[in-house]
Symmetry: C2
Subunit: 494 residues, 2 copies
């Protein structure tokens, strides 16, 4: 994807990362309140760009304005959440074990622990969220919130949108009196610049949202470093959804409406898109599949993000549908033109699915494969055969759940989030959210990319032993001057 922006050389990128390190050191000296004001200023400046930003993003991504309006609100909301996190302060996970001078055989020293930022974070934005997972998206917001400096590599598919957001951040840097290089932005379409960003000496961590191929390439680059760094890549997921028999019997029509919507939401271009459906064969499934098919037929094709994603959708969906054993294909009744994607569902037996690994692959777009299983045992076998996922969902009545406890126990072992009677699209931004999961959904299942806890990717604990109170960071001082939640001799206290 070519664009009009300059490509930085490896040498230039190394300088950018050095500047990021210096800015990190200066940023660490600013207060939580100053950081919060800065992050809020970013949100304000993004809003100040008004409709021009939405127009540009729509031009570059083909996403409709209402969706982009919502995504912008999520992005600014996310930024303000991290400002709130900084003001509230408890995110540092302060833990205090006071001295036991009389303990035998040895006294215990005074030990106090809190989280501190890692250093410059390199962020690779996603193509499918030009705001929320991009220049000022979740990775950037969480890293700035954690106290790290950030260098974003703009996604070439929406380079001009990214540039506009970058200019907004620059304004916020100036108005908040922040170090000039606390946030930097590079364009570039080559693998070289991505490699240089990951391999620069000063890079302390990497965040990525995108394809499996891209995420694994960054992991490979990082494994060539002398000094290892954490790389969090959020990659593909087919988000299995299980429809249990009783709910299929009782709620087929509602389920069909719900899932025709979820499969095609945003032209299927969500990492939590339900790409795999599982059910036990029978009349209930036949009826549901028919109703879902009618729903899909009625949904009009829409333009995808860019030509590359469209041709990948064409290629991958055709490859899947051509496999032996696909017993039904239902498409939108309207023919897709240009770079539109035609909503599609297909049906296959569990036996065929288990034998053919190609059918396990993500088809990024408005596509979902229904796997018909003989019984619960076969359904469990299918579920065990798919790799790590961002989400897994089960649709069922109380009667269904009572009769499938083995299946329910399996769900949390394969995904970061388990949903009951809902759709996986839609990711709430809060403390209990997990947007992550076992490989290949992410490269490190111990972290989440969404919610306040996403900041944990960019921090490490530091322990102070017998430090004089006045020399401690505010979060660890005896009097708790910032009034945060702390684990004080084993009790959470303010």
């Amino acid at each position: 994807m070519a664009n009009n922006f300059k490509e930085e050389s490896t040498k230039e990128i190394n300088i950018i990362m050095q500047q990021s390190q210096s800015a990190f050191e200066a940023y660490q000296k600013t207060s939580a309140e100053q950081k919060a004001l800065f992050i809020e200023a970013i949100a304000d400046e993004i809003e100040a760009l008004g409709d021009a930003l939405l127009q540009k993003a729509s031009e570059e991504t083909n996403l409709p304005l209402p969706r982009l309006t919502g995504e912008r609100a999520r992005t600014t909301g996310q930024l303000r959440m991290f400002a709130g996190m900084l003001r509230e302060g408890s995110w540092v996970e302060a833990s205090i074990d006071t001295a036991l001078p009389d303990r035998k055989p040895l006294p215990r020293p005074d030990l106090r622990k809190m989280l501190v930022p890692l250093g410059p974070v390199v962020v690779f934005g996603a193509s499918n969220f030009p705001f929320a997972y991009s220049t000022a998206g979740g990775d950037t917001a969480s890293a700035l919130g954690a106290g790290c400096s950030v260098v974003v590599k703009a996604h070439p598919a929406h380079a001009e949108t990214s540039e506009m957001v970058y200019q907004a951040i620059k304004k916020a840097i100036v108005s908040s009196n922040m170090p000039e290089h606390v946030f930097q932005h590079v364009h570039g379409t080559s693998f070289e610049s991505g490699k240089a960003l990951v391999q620069a000496d000063d890079t302390a961590a990497v965040g990525f949202t995108g394809s499996t191929v891209g995420g694994l390439a960054l992991l490979q680059y990082s494994s060539e470093r002398k000094k290892p760094i954490p790389v969090f890549s959020e990659m593909g997921s087919i988000n299995p959804v299980i429809f249990l028999p009783d709910t299929l019997d009782k709620n087929a029509a509602d389920l069909a409406v719900q899932y025709a919507g979820s499969i095609t939401l945003g032209v299927g271009q969500f990492c939590t898109n339900p790409g795999l459906m599982l059910a036990i064969e029978g009349e209930g499934l036949d009826n549901f599949y028919k109703l879902l098919g009618s729903g899909i037929e009625a949904i009009k094709p829409a333009k995808m993000l860019h030509a590359g994603i469209h041709s990948a959708y064409e290629k991958k969906s055709h490859a899947a549908l051509e496999q032996e054993g696909i017993t039904s294909v239902v498409k939108s009744a309207t023919e897709a033109v240009d770079i539109e994607a035609q909503p599609t569902i297909a049906l296959v037996s569990a036996e065929t699915f288990l034998e053919n690994h190609l059918l396990h692959e993500e088809v990024f777009g408005p596509y979902s494969l229904m796997v018909s299983c003989k019984d619960e045992q076969e359904l469990i076998k299918v579920l065990k055969s798919v790799s790590g996922q961002l989400t897994t969902t089960v649709m069922g009545t109380d009667e269904d759940f009572a009769g499938h406890s083995n299946l329910l126990q399996l769900l949390p072992t394969i995904a970061g989030r388990v949903l009951f009677n809902g759709v996986p699209t839609g990711v709430e931004v809060c403390a209990s959210m997990v947007h992550g999961g076992p490989f290949p959904a992410t490269t490190d299942s111990r972290f989440t990319a969404v919610g306040v806890n996403s900041a944990k990717r960019w921090v490490r604990p530091v322990c102070y032993q017998n430090c004089p109170d006045a020399l401690l960071p505010l979060a660890l001082q005896q009097a708790n001057p910032t009034n945060i939640w702390r684990l004080f001799d084993g009790e959470w206290k303010k």
Copy 2:
């Protein structure tokens, strides 16, 4: 290091890891109380081995019985701490965001998050702690506590001690009615078996304590895996100690006693051994160095753990002492024989130290290098030149601290633990401990190897969305039946 135990083939190791995966699945179905009883039974069985275990360990490691008695107590104490962690239950970091059905524009679903175990953990024990960082050491205890199965590769330097501990764990498995393969033990002295353990499909995570070369080799093996896994290697550290001027003037004699002891404790074979000392030149430093030298002269050489560590000590200390610019060397007045290590300190200028990277390398044993700096600025330069550390220590009076705030701010940026007026040897086992630090102290500074939080290396979060209360794990049920600390709509509550 050859021994009498069988070397497992790669094929056999893959079977062991498959067994570990099956055992993991069964172990997950046991209650927290059952796991706690099992872990306590391990501690009991280790104690039941009595003096025979201490004797064997002393034969294999040359460590004296009092030290081994203390280390055994720490090991069983650590196991019981994880049993306590399981019973208390709050370690799962339960977080609950309740539904907001009336929120506009979209309702918020009910979201509940907790930590769950990753799967089979492979542990490589250390040579310098035959109990506390070995077969039933911190990595094993934290992994079993987190709900993971464990496979330990015994350190060949104390294979028979490890085997005895393994037999104790086997007894505990039987008496606690645990899955047979929840803990397994392999010997083997080849790189091949280590590689096979790291690269087995079923391995979910790796813990290692030992040399930089060993830790990096495991990281390299893991980077060749198709499915990335977390590798936590705790490796070398020279643990800089800064002696500030006022305390040198006032407390030189006490400091010399304290540090002659810390440098030679356990024949200097601790990862937190103070291998580097920094001070500003002047009479205070001259006087302290002389007193410390007298202390070192008076300490008798003692046998190291094994011939390999001894020859590395000889080689590395000689190489360092032969460097141009070493202006003084003080050794124990008693000549070392056999595989004894001769306690040694040396003096060098900051200028020389900064120019010669060989002097930055860890000399594992009773050795420490004093770097004499012209002023605070040069001292800061020296500190910035050393890489990531487990600990960094500052010795000073209130007057010292008031006059060196720039220096104090630097300390937490290079280490996992910052000590004031103490010695880095001695690692308290508690919630606020951080035994970790920036690379090369560890391969991932976001974690600790000691304390309850060491279990966080082996867990990942799972979120339940709109899950019926009765189907939730106990930790997330509305009524909080296990009475644990939970972050409930932003407030820590029981």
